[in-house]
Amino acid sequence: MNIKRIALVAILVLAAILRLYKLGEFPIHLTNDEAGLGYNAYSILQTGRDEHGNLFPVIFKSFGDWKPGLYVYLSVPTIALFGLSEFSVRLPSALMGILAVLYIYKLGSKLFGDKVGLFSALSLALLPWHIHFSRGAWEANVALTLLIGGVYYFLKSFENNKYFVLSALFLSLTLWSYQSAKIASLIVLVGLAFLYHKQLFKIKFKYLVSALILGLLVSLPIVLSLFTGKAGRANVMSVFSYTRSEEYIEETVFAHENITRDSPIFALYHSEALNLFRGISGRYLNYLSGKFLFFEGDWSNPRHTSVDSGYLLYVDIIIFVLGIIGILKRKMSKEVAFVWFLFLVSQVPAALTRDSAHGVRSLGMIFPISLILGYGLNDLVHYLQMNKLAIRLFGFIALVSAFVYSMAIYLDAYYVQNKYLEPKDYFYGYKQVVQKVFERETKYEKIVFSQSYDQPYIFFLFFGAMDGDSRFSAWEYQKESSFEENQWGDVGLIKKLGNIEFRPINWYDDRGLGNTLFIVREEDVSKSDLISKEFNIETVSYPDGKTAFILINKNEINQ
């Protein structure tokens, strides 16, 4: 084994440790999406049907949203092997994450040589952004790996045409993994075709045709679903569905100047198109800001980032700048153009949605960023190697310490600090509360659980099935599934699961109900009842001691 092989294996082991260590316990709690994916895979494994009783669906209906099915099917074998658990639901993403490191090595080597490949793989292995979304059932992470692999096979197919078919398979499978991948993969495909059209013409006809057919076959079900209204929440999320409100325009335009919507002034300076353009550009630039990349990450969704961390390591600030400068200085070539292309378009799909920043939808940025980091790191190491021994030694020690230090800060944020920030966003508490309900349920006639878009039912299904409780097995559940769409056709709710009722709490009326166990949030009930002897109280707390759930029932002895 030569040294590069050893280095690659070491990097992969490192990547694996960072992605697999305590995977079942961190993140601190299963999200409702993860529980949904897991339960559906479990249901497929048992019955071949999803939770709603559809036989081997392509797209899964999940809380009224539509999710392409690849992740569910990837979890079927892990659940078969390890049983239903947090670990087995998360494992596919973690393994895909490790695979991405391998593919970025291969791709980086192909574009800029072995060394850049190795450093890109190292950068990706250590990238907080990638670690974060490899730890947890994130469909977008699967799409990312498929995209990197697909591009790698695309480039490899110029040497050996067979790989072209594999490339088609990978790229079309991205559609099966993540809704937003539709635009992202299309953009990358167009870019590749444009840059490498000459090479494309040289590919043998039979491979070209079989790739085309395979690609079409695989993507067909997903493309068809677009026309049957299973495109997910694209409309709800898209920025084009949102315009300024009348009041806002009144306040910022018409209150200041005497014009109407038909005035040329309005068309010139206050048009909806301009507002949209400013909004999209602003969001696009947010993804390239220091705040997003290095300091805060996804500031609108706490669950998408670790406490006080960005998406890249602190030391990467320097490496990233060096990488940009390095690639800029390189002579223009297809490879360079491809990296710039990825760097400029990867955040476009995310910028077209309404969040001012979103770490999942922009996950594709990891692709160019790890190549840029690899390039920068390679340049830096190369520069150090050119120097005198003393400088070289000092430089390497400083560089390694900087990485270790940055990584230590990140790991501390991930494994220690995260528990205390917004545990509610991680759905913390459901596991305990479900266990407690199972322990106590026989004592009551009725169980009422405070309804919310957390989708509490899915945690009962998941943890119930995990306990081997036959009521929550796929066969039993499919018989009585009682899904109800909400009025916007956006996200729906489940109202009943066996003897457990999910509904909003109206404490004024509900407090009188005897023989009923309520599971509520603190704000659902009156403070005075929480300290009165009339009620029996049990709480489930967040790691910081605040109350997550309250189990409350009328004290029958007193009556």
């Binding site: 100047e257 010139l268 550009s281 602003g282 800001s289 600030i317 400068i325 800029l328 230590a408 600090q417």
Partner: protein, 545 residues
């Protein structure tokens, strides 16, 4: 005449810069408290040889206990002497510095000698119409003077590389900027060190060594008064008050995070969570926010006084020009040392303070940004000229580019003149001039006058508009203690009292006074004798008797 013909475009650009900076300068936007303080201090010096608080010929003006660097006050002084105490005298120097900065950037871009003949004129044009630069040229903003001095100083520095005698002018100008604005005190010394590193071969060559050392001694002599004054207690305490080093919140956050470990005081824990690291992170974050696209191109500064609604610090299209310019510079770094160094150093002082990004404190960023985007624009224009052979197509390209530039420029003017004062009605002290002139004409002479402190520092605007005799004011006022932000104010002078008005609970206090409060403070049913509106049509004060 020949000189005019040869430079006709430059002259037109300077004329444009002049119109944009001087038109209606006295009334729009309304004078703010800082400007009034500068004007009144100059007036006070002329009348009494002392500032408003009785300090004679100070280097830093005590003002609201924020100790403003004095350079701009001394620039305003001759104007007040010649034209009296009014808005023009306070603001015209700033506008003139702004116009001359356009000239200075022309000279600097020419002197850079980067082999692009259009760069100088495009740079001048872009600065002339720059939102960031126009904004701070229209008003008595000290920073604009500092930026002028640095730009001209750097021009002479680059020029000195061929004729060393200019080094003396350069260091004189750069040192003067230290007397003008706090941020310059961080940028300029760092610039000096950086330039020394870049140009060490010329500066420290045998022939030039004596002159360089001489210049260094000259600088030293020039900064002695500043240093001795700065490190006096009051001035430096203000400077450190706004710095991120002063934040006590770090300690709590560090302890909280350490406390989540089993052994809070372990070495690893101390290494990961400690004050220097937190400050370094805060600094890095603040620093990079100045290169945030949203700040530069989309929404601008958060502080209303520093911005125009729906506008970035630069035009949106400048993003593309900047990218092209930066790419060109990265590919060929020689000759660009000064510009790149300046761009990298300019946000540092702002990043050391709480509010980031900060358009005012980081204003000198605009010069390197303008030069780089001008470079980008030149490259694009050259590219079209060389590569597009069809004349019609070329014309279409030129037209399209001009159209975008003109449209965004007109959008800026529209937002500045139509929307700014209405979108941000409290960004400047609208209405106070109207109030003072009303009270001066209508007041009943036997009564005290009570004015609300809702809007910044009303006392100084009263002094300014009343042209109140400085001698009398110096002898007859007390400066309050510092508030939580480190500012002091004067609660009363003569028959004027400035306070928060609680009309419903303390109405008895106001019985024998004329009261001017906001419409929220004045209860319904009060005997309102006059509503005072600002030039933007907003109701600012209700006068009650």
């Amino acid at each position: 005449m020949k000189l005019i013909n040869k430079n006709i475009i430059l002259i037109l650009i300077l004329l444009l810069a002049g119109i944009l900076r001087v038109y209606q300068l006295d009334v729009y936007p309304a004078l703010n408290a800082d400007e009034a303080s500068i004007g009144y201090d100059a007036y006070s010096l002329i009348e009494t040889g002392k500032d408003q608080h009785g300090n004679s010929w100070p280097i830093h003006f005590q003002s609201f206990n924020d100790y403003k660097p004095g350079g701009y006050v001394y620039a305003v002084l001759p104007f007040v002497y010649l034209f009296g105490l009014n808005e023009w005298s306070v603001r015209l120097p700033g506008a003139i510095f702004g116009i001359f900065t356009v000239l200075a950037v022309y000279l600097l871009a020419r002197e850079l000698n980067v082999g692009n003949s259009k760069l100088k004129i495009v740079s001048a044009l872009l600065l002339a119409i720059s939102p960031w630069h126009i904004h701070f040229s229209r008003g008595g903003w000290e920073v604009n003077m500092a930026t002028f001095l640095i730009t001209l100083g750097l021009y002479f520095f680059v020029k000195a590389q061929r004729q060393m005698k200019y080094l003396v002018i350069s260091v004189l100008l750069l040192t003067l900027s230290l007397y003008t604005y706090h941020a310059a005190r961080v940028i300029v010394p760092l610039l000096g060190l950086g330039l020394l590193a870049i140009y060490r071969k010329t500066l420290l060559s045998k022939d030039n060594l004596r002159l360089s050392v001489g210049a260094a001694v000259f600088v030293f002599v020039l900064v002695v008064p500043l240093m001795s004054n700065f490190f006096g207690d009051a001035v430096s305490s203000r400077a450190s008050g706004v710095s991120i080093l002063a934040d006590r919140g770090y300690i709590d956050r560090i302890n909280e995070k350490r406390g989540r470990h089993d052994n809070p005081s372990s070495i690893v824990n101390r290494l990961i969570y400690n004050r220097p690291k937190e400050i370094a992170i805060e600094f890095g974050k603040n620093y990079l926010e100045h290169f945030w696209g949203d700040f530069l191109f989309i929404s601008g500064d958060d502080i209303e006084r520093n911005k125009v609604s729906e506008f970035g610090q630069l035009y949106m299209w400048q993003l593309f020009a900047l990218v092209v310019g930066v790419v060109a510079v990265v590919k060929k770094q020689k000759e660009w040392g000064v510009v790149v160094l300046w761009l990298l150093l300019a946000p540092i002082p702002a990043a050391l303070t709480f509010q980031s990004p900060h358009a005012l404190r980081a204003q000198s960023m605009i010069i390197p940004l303008i030069i780089l985007s001008a470079l980008g624009l030149c490259i694009v224009l050259d590219f079209i000229k060389r590569k597009v052979s069809s004349k019609t197509l070329r014309t279409i390209f030129y037209l399209a580019i001009s159209l975008v530039i003109v449209w965004d420029f007109s959008r800026y003017l529209h937002n500045y003149w139509v929307h700014m004062s209405k979108a941000y009605p409290y960004s400047s002290q609208y209405g106070v001039k109207e109030l003072v002139s009303y009270l001066a004409n209508e007041q009943s002479h036997e009564k005290n006058i009570i004015i609300t402190t809702r809007y910044d520092q009303p006392y100084i605007l009263f002094l300014f508009y009343l042209k109140y005799p400085p001698k009398q004011f110096q002898n007859d006022h007390v400066l309050s203690g510092r508030d939580e932000y480190g500012f002091s104010t004067v609660p009363t002078f003569d028959r004027y009292e400035f306070r928060k008005i609680n009309y419903d609970t303390e109405w008895s206090l106001y019985q024998n006074s004329v009261v001017a409060g906001t419409d929220e403070e004045i209860v319904e049913g009060a005997n309102v004798i006059k509503n005072i509106y600002g030039t933007n049509g907003f109701l600012y004060f209700q006068v009650v008797r």
